[in-house]
Amino acid sequence: MPEALSYLFSSWLRPDLLALTAIGTFTGIYVGAIPGLSVTMAVSILISFTFSWDVNTALALMNGIYMGGVYGGSRMAILLNIPGTPAAIATALDGYPLAKKGEAGSAIGLSTVMSVLGGFVGIAVLAVAAPTVSEFAILFQPRDYMLLAIMGILLVGSLSGESLAKGVFAGALGLLLGTVGLDPMTAEQRFTFGSVQLMSGIAPIALMIGLFGVSEALLQLHNIHAEAIKQKVGRIVPSLADVRKYLSLSLQTSGIGALIGALPGTGGDIAALIAYDHAKRVTKNPEVPFGEGAKEGIVGAETANNAAVAGAYIPMLTLGIPGDAVTAIIIGALFIHGLNPGPLLMIEKPDIFWFTVGNLVLANVFLLIFGLTGIKIFTRIVECPKSILFPLILLLSVVGAFSINNAITDVWWMLGFGVFGYLLKLYGYQIGPIVLGIILSRLMDGNWRRAIISEQDSIPAFLMGIVTSPLSLAFLLVILFALVSQMPWWKALRNRGAGPA
């Protein structure tokens, strides 16, 4: 335990880690705040530059960006009604009306304090729950991992997209892309088309940079000449009375956020919407109605989305299953650093876990500092010319892909998937499931084969195994629910059940 404690505070004591966490958090806030830039984009591009670092320094930067980015989205949601990140959609509902009343400053201040509070609750849940989950995870059968992976991809695909079929397509495509190369079990060639380069597979980070960096930058070129609107921002440090008033609600919504974040496949965006809904239900007499500037709405959304950040680390560090797209990219980086996230990580490398917990706390402290200061610089930076911003993103994407292996091949893959991702997004397919699929492909393929071999290739025996184990059955039911709840006939049935209003 004392050893764990020393890891916990290592990022506080080493100046380079301290600086990187601060830089990451600061960058994250701006990345989240500038519409068109996203946390996934920043993490996927930057991660390729960190391969030569040791794992802790790379994690320090990523943790900071993730924490800062999820919070940063709230800024533009409040000021311009444009959520900088999907996680800030719920924040815009009440934040923007407040800004229109001239209370942008107090809305930003409240969202900062609440984000930090939610962040701390999420980290506490991570520190307490992850060791338990990883002990429990040793009981998991291969089929459970397979079902969990399906669950993660389905939840990402079905909850956030325009159609379930497109979400499932994207997930399957990602899983397929992950199989390219030599089969790790039998060394048979899969989809190599005779190319030696394809035998080692396609670099996942190159695909991610293309899908998140280039495709998004190309999409943003559609409305590059949109003019920025300016809002007046007053005092932002909120009063202690305000914070105390919403303390009970904020603790509830933080808890909700951490739990939803911990589900594989659901991240801050869904957590924020559900917590917003919760805040709406439990606030009996809001001073201002919800949707017209109720501070309770901001409290609910902002606590939950930052609590979900730490929550998303739980399945990533204990099961090797990412909680959302950002943690999927971080898993990709951990693989490259020779780490294998899963139940054994906590036993073999407890330092990584405790480092992450301590580092997230640090990032959260920086979030408070940067969130409540420097609002003047903030408005200047956010107005930086788009004409240089998007070329810069593309430049970093190319250089990032190149620096994975110092090979131009990765750049071609990156560009190909950049254009492909652009078209996919344009036609309503989501990118999230593809990335989750790429990361989960090996885990799912391997566990499927282990599971079916142990049942002597018998499907009935495999199904019996699922139905007779309470854990597997529970996972299966969640999967079925995620599927059925998106079916057109089910939606029609529910609408009829609700009756003509």
Binding site: L221, H222, S387, L394, L395, L396, V411, L415, R449, D457
Partner: protein, 173 residues
């Protein structure tokens, strides 16, 4: 709630059809790995995935074909799917990637930034050069000097430059 008949996006049917064709082709390729030999073979999982892709792509294709086709033809396609900025930029990135190794990071990146910023700034050349210079210095300092990323050297003896700056900083201490 009656099914709303929406207008599909220009090119949507073609795109979905290409996805379906790709899925079917990959299914065939997955079959070629080992055929239908066993459920735990190297080809089983890829075959399952490509089968799912084929079915879902077919559903997406049918749905898009059932929607009203967009009015506006090629003009609309050019506006919504491939606006000039996107086409031009794709060409810029392609050119940049091709030049990255022969010219080296500094020269190729500077050219790319100037040309693309100039394009987006609609002709304000001096502003484009200024912005590009500031950006390239920033990127170089952060990624090459601080993060120590190895970048293609090309025509400018950049490695010598980096170590000279390093020596200067060390000498200054």
């Amino acid at each position: 709630m009656p099914n709303e008949v929406q207008t599909r996006r220009p090119g949507e049917v073609t795109f979905n059809a290409v996805l379906l064709a790709f899925s079917l082709f990959m299914f065939w390729q997955a079959y070629l790995i080992v055929g239908f030999s066993s459920l735990s073979s190297a080809g089983a999982f890829p075959m399952a995935m490509t089968a799912i892709m084929s079915v879902t792509a077919a559903i997406a294709l049918l749905r898009s074909a059932r929607r009203r086709s967009p009015q506006g033809g090629v003009t609309l396609f050019r506006k919504e799917v491939l606006p000039p900025a996107v086409v031009v930029f794709s060409a810029f990135i392609l050119g940049y990637s091709l030049l990255l190794q022969p010219l080296g990071f500094l020269l190729a990146s500077f050219l790319f930034l100037v040309v693309s910023t100039w394009f987006l700034e609609a002709g304000r050349f001096r502003r484009a050069v200024l912005l590009s210079t500031i950006s390239i210095v920033g990127v170089y300092v952060v990624f090459r000097l601080i993060f120590q990323v190895v970048l293609p050297e090309g025509l400018i003896p950049e490695r010598g430059l980096a170590s000279a700056i390093g020596n200067l900083l060390r000498g200054g201490n």
